[in-house]
Symmetry: C2
Subunit: 288 residues, 2 copies
């Protein structure tokens, strides 16, 4: 945990970054975050990440800070990440520091803005070809899973369950439906068709999810955005998760049982290839 971070208008060593424990992020989970990837020092879909954050601040009636695009670039520069194959910028915005009241501070106070960047180690080609495993976990989240808030305890518990089950991903199940992962979306292949839960209050509108949906359409792969039950999921020919750090991640075992042949499937591979080609084109970086 080192590097240069940004806190409320200033860049500083991480060891010097300190906030008040009366910050509403700490007392109430009253905040939002984004994680944006850069490849070879160039961001992928930064505009979409900031648009999602802006929508979140609007829904929660919080301030939307200015200058975030430049902040992202500056963090890469100050942390010497411009030549890294992949890096991420974490950005968090809270409603600020105020005497503790459940209702919003009145008058309002300045938002707290915290951001940092670090290199991200992508899985090796070998690890990716071997595939990953997932376990299903009860989805205990609140009713607005579409907002990327810092209320992440249900995801923390789900991811811990996955880890203790020896799995990489947690598949969140609510009312029998396989909605998404603890920090990523999920796709299933049935026959020649992709399926993923439709955008709603119950899932996060993932940027990578949107990119992969677009790539599927461009590549003539039929897609159905529809609810998928856990029972159906167990019958899928292929499963993969998508996300900023997840990219397109093949699941070859679900709940201890093989998915399809128990190997990375052809549609998953096609979409990962198409995704990396998109990254290479948009970021001008050769990523394999």
């Amino acid at each position: 945990m080192g590097g240069t971070v940004f806190l409320n208008g200033e860049f500083m060593p991480r060891s010097r970054a300190r906030i008040s424990p009366d910050d509403r992020g700490f007392l109430f989970g009253d905040g939002l975050y984004e994680v944006t990837p850069a490849y070879g020092g160039r961001f992928l879909a930064l505009d979409r990440h900031l648009a999602r954050l802006q929508r979140g601040t609007k829904e929660l009636r919080m301030a939307f800070p200015q200058g975030l695009e430049e902040l992202h670039r500056e963090l890469l520069r100050r942390n010497d990440l411009e030549d890294e194959e992949m890096s991420i910028v974490y950005l968090q915005v809270t409603r600020g520091t105020a005497p503790r009241t459940h209702h919003f501070p009145d008058p309002s106070v300045p938002a707290t803005v915290y951001a940092w960047a670090r290199a991200f180690e992508r899985p090796t080609r070998e690890a990716w070809e071997k595939g990953f495993s997932a376990v299903s976990v009860v989805d205990r989240r609140w009713a607005r899973a579409d907002l990327k808030t810092i209320q992440l305890l249900p995801q923390v518990l789900a991811q811990q369950d996955a880890r203790e089950g020896g799995a990489t991903d947690a598949l969140l199940v609510r009312d029998g439906l396989a909605l998404e992962g603890a920090h990523n979306n999920v796709f299933f292949v049935f026959g020649d068709t992709l399926a993923t839960h439709p955008a709603s209050n119950q899932i996060l509108p993932g940027i990578t999810r949107e990119i992969v949906l677009g790539l599927a359409r461009e590549n003539g792969i039929p897609v159905k955005e529809r609810p998928v039950s856990l029972a159906e999921a167990h019958q899928a020919a292929e499963i993969f998760f998508t996300g900023t750090t997840t990219e397109v991640r093949p699941t070859v075992r679900l709940d201890g049982r093989p998915v399809g042949e128990g190997t990375v499937g052809p549609l998953t591979r096609r979409l990962q290839t198409a995704f990396l080609a998109r990254v290479s084109r948009e970021c001008g970086a050769a990523v394999t």
Copy 2:
């Protein structure tokens, strides 16, 4: 926002209290809290508050800090609150500061412990006799509302709705059922019988709720712990909320309509009197 607070083993002026923004309380809402009342400098049911916290840490597999009882007493002393009619101690415990991963830090890190105390101004007798109002709000919380976590954004939004509706309390409604308030429990009177939602994952097991249930039984008031629909709630003869800072708070208007006669009802008054007598007995303080 002044006074002496406690942070990670040290007492200090509030203005000096600072935590790392990499605290899991700030990044994930990965923590629990308690608010414990003192009357005339003596705590009411501190043991029950700490037992609830201990249960929470067990459920979330977090460390339970030692010495919390003495910490509570010391905060009252250092803030000259021993002669206050009423004061509160706020205590928050998080899973600590670690590089950001959804899963628990491995190895684990020391918990963050933050606590402060302040005087609490009870409503005047006149205000209490006039009664208070409430509005019903959709309950958007996660599936473990029985844990007193710092994931309070749904409660923040509900309380803000209440405030903007000119009301004191928010009545959280899920699947048509009137469960509890945004930071307190709720009771209804039908005929001569009290009703309140049974303890479950959907409500917080309130300490004041337990005390009031006990007082009702001691006073021969019939009690049913059962689900109450919002439609029923609108037909209740009396409604009151209970909580640490709420005590027994009469609701005379719900969603803009009078509750019963639109005045404080007899059972509410009997239970508030019994509650204050209990406070006086346990804390040796005359509270009216």
